[in-house]
Symmetry: C2
Subunit: 199 residues, 2 copies
Amino acid sequence: MTDRNTRHKTAMEKLKSHVDDKVAQANEERGQLLVFTGNGKGKTTAAWGTITRALGYGYKVGVIQFIKGLWECGERERLAEDANLEVHAMTTGFTWDTQNRDADTAACQAVWQEAKRLMRDESVYLVVLDELTYMVKFGYLPLEEVMTALEGRPEEQTVIITGRNANREIVACADTVTEMTEIRHGFNHGLKARRGIDF
Amino acid sequence: MTDRNTRHKTAMEKLKSHVDDKVAQANEERGQLLVFTGNGKGKTTAAWGTITRALGYGYKVGVIQFIKGLWECGERERLAEDANLEVHAMTTGFTWDTQNRDADTAACQAVWQEAKRLMRDESVYLVVLDELTYMVKFGYLPLEEVMTALEGRPEEQTVIITGRNANREIVACADTVTEMTEIRHGFNHGLKARRGIDF
């Protein structure tokens, strides 16, 4: 065995031992609260990756789309025929297209009722609250209502919240938080949003 | 209209105008190079979200899994019956489980041949090179080969590269780069990886 191979083997053994230790220590099993926040691309996309994953095992999934309701959406089409998937979208679309605060609040509250129902349903394994952070920021949805629903949900249920500027209180009670930081975005240097990739 | 509603309308109009301007300026259409890097959760998951999205429009997708080949994988199961999806996984699994540099290099090179074929195929809309960054870092795959394949690919083809510590040269030629930064990860405070959520 060459020196390089020996060094590689030692490094990999050390890494494996470290990973094995961490796996052994991670023994608490329950539903989690995941937050995908930050200004970069990949928050909603990562939520849809998780949805696909959960559906792959036959789990029931509920999705509330708080903003992108009127957009064409390939991932929703791809999974639409799945009986285990339930999607509710705010019908006003992007809030800056409507510019009507009362209509937005009413539309938000309507889908929030579906969210609350899903978060009381023990048969639902995963609930995605896509772009919820803006609803709280704009004052369409009181933070206390969100916290109460999160705290009262079934123990085995995982919830994913996405959106920029995640509220401090939500981050504080999350199990896993990833900040998707934009290093570069094609859109900002002239690249048109692409079908099947960006939407 | 209340003051609050007026302020909201003005703010939303300003935001809409800003977004409209950016959309108007973004008129270049072609395949892109996306990089999901960083130490946080969501890189591979965002890639699978994009895969689901592209399949939703009936596009052909090729996936090379450079590390997680032997893992149970809900998203792959969910989409397995899709004739437009082609997945190749490195058969040695996690590299620190094998601790054999020569075997890892050979396994990497075998799937890399599939990657190169996909990146020459004009009918493939999206190619995902999952965890490729480690292959370059470990020296299993020369960076020059990766750059040559990226530069020579069809103009309409999008490539997603995932993995920590993305190589500087790859980042430099990417259109969109997101750094998934770990703010918190349940695994590090005792939460077991969860079926249908983490894998």
